[in-house]
Amino acid sequence: MKFENFNNTKENKKKEGVGQLGVFEQQETKQSLSGILKAAFEKIKGKCAPLMQPESDQEKIDSSIGLDNNETEEIRKELAPKFLEIKQRASTLENIAEEKFGLVSSSEDSVGETGSLEKLRVRMQYEKDEREKNERWAEQRFKTLNVQDKVTEGATPEEIEEAIKQNIPEFSPQRKRMERVSEKYKKSSEAVKKHLDKYSSTEESFEALCGFKANGKVEMRHGASDITFVVEDENDFSRVVRGKESLSERELIEISWIGGAVATNKDVPEEFRGAGLIVLSRDGMEKTREQLGDIETHERQHVTNGLYDGEKRGALKYVSIEEIKKAPENEKREKILSYFLYKRQYADNNKMSDELLAHYKGLDFANEDEVHKKITANLVISYREKFYGPTVEAERRVLERLGIEKSLVEECVAEIFRDDSWRTTRDALEGLRKLERSGFSKDQAINLVQLEPLSEWGNVADKLIEHKDKKPA
């Protein structure tokens, strides 16, 4: 693209009698555009510079108060990490500014040839399009959140259906997904209502749902789509959780560590199995009321998560065994890593995310860093074997049959099922925390990631926070 009149000054044009506004605009735009770019970069750079060298400001303060460098050295050391953080942020900002505005060199600017400008234009237009796309996505996502809020509040199925109609356009993928969520919610709510109408006492209710008469005292409460029993007798608890009367010593030890569960055993009626029946043990760990409350919150979150089962779609590319087989030696590692990542997706999007959200909901974040570490460590270490174990075993055998070197397979297993899993879980949790820190409630933070694959939670949180102004008040 060329600027035909670029070398003509405004004065020349006036002399030539071509004083039409359009010509001047064209010239001014080209000139001011480069000027704007440079000025924008220089301004940011100039303002970042003092932040990267706080020593000068520190010296001014010292001398205004009447102390010298040696006397304030200790204070400088104490505050050094905070000043370093500012320096790093300033340096990052300067880099971003350079990347955005620093592309045009003065020589290119003065030639009329617009190679660099053109590249910049394309990139900026792309970024603008992306931003607008994200903005539209966030706007719709917040509307969907209105529907999810209703589910969390325990609204009636009719209210939820109405909210879907009002907030989510027909034929959109989010509509389909929320309709499935709503359908499950409706079934559970109806089952709870029907059950409560039929059984008037807690004892009868327990027997009908758990398949046996309780030995000890039982307390019952219910939400819109779940029923919770708090049992005092340990045997009652283990029988509902394990679905059998006598347990081995190992099973007894295991169960003593469980405070609550969503009942999944075969004696539980189908409409409640793995969905809306929660059982909590008051005895097992001599729990305080608060601890019991935390466990109940955790288990109820599992029930809510169940409504979103299968709705977190992974977007990873499928890598077949054939591709690994055909890949040249130097590309095998990469292929195996992608293959494992794809295989891990299901466990991440269904089991790991379910546990992460239930832990997140049930814990008090008074000491955020501690809880952060605890959740990540707990999930990845405790659940790794349970969630990934069978997949890892099966895939080891598959790759062994292909003749892939054992050490390479083990290296890839460690990378994907241990290290990368840890990173993914940590980033996902950080995404939830970011949402909460930026003003969303804990339930809203959870709802906002409910329809997204675990590996995307951090990005999704960033996008939503960036377009938070699109959220209806």
Partner: protein
Amino acid sequence: MKMDDESIKQNKENLILENVVREEEFGLNDELAELQADYEKLLLEYRTKVEEKKIEKLRGQLKHI
């Protein structure tokens, strides 16, 4: 000299680009303002500590008088 279609198109595109640049600049300025505010807060913290140190020093000197 006349403005041909190509030039008009180019002109329009540049105006769009100019707006984009300004928007970008605006966004970075927001971040910069936040960073500067944090820096000012930190300098204030530094100043408070230096003042405390000075008071401590003066107290010590007074004791010796």
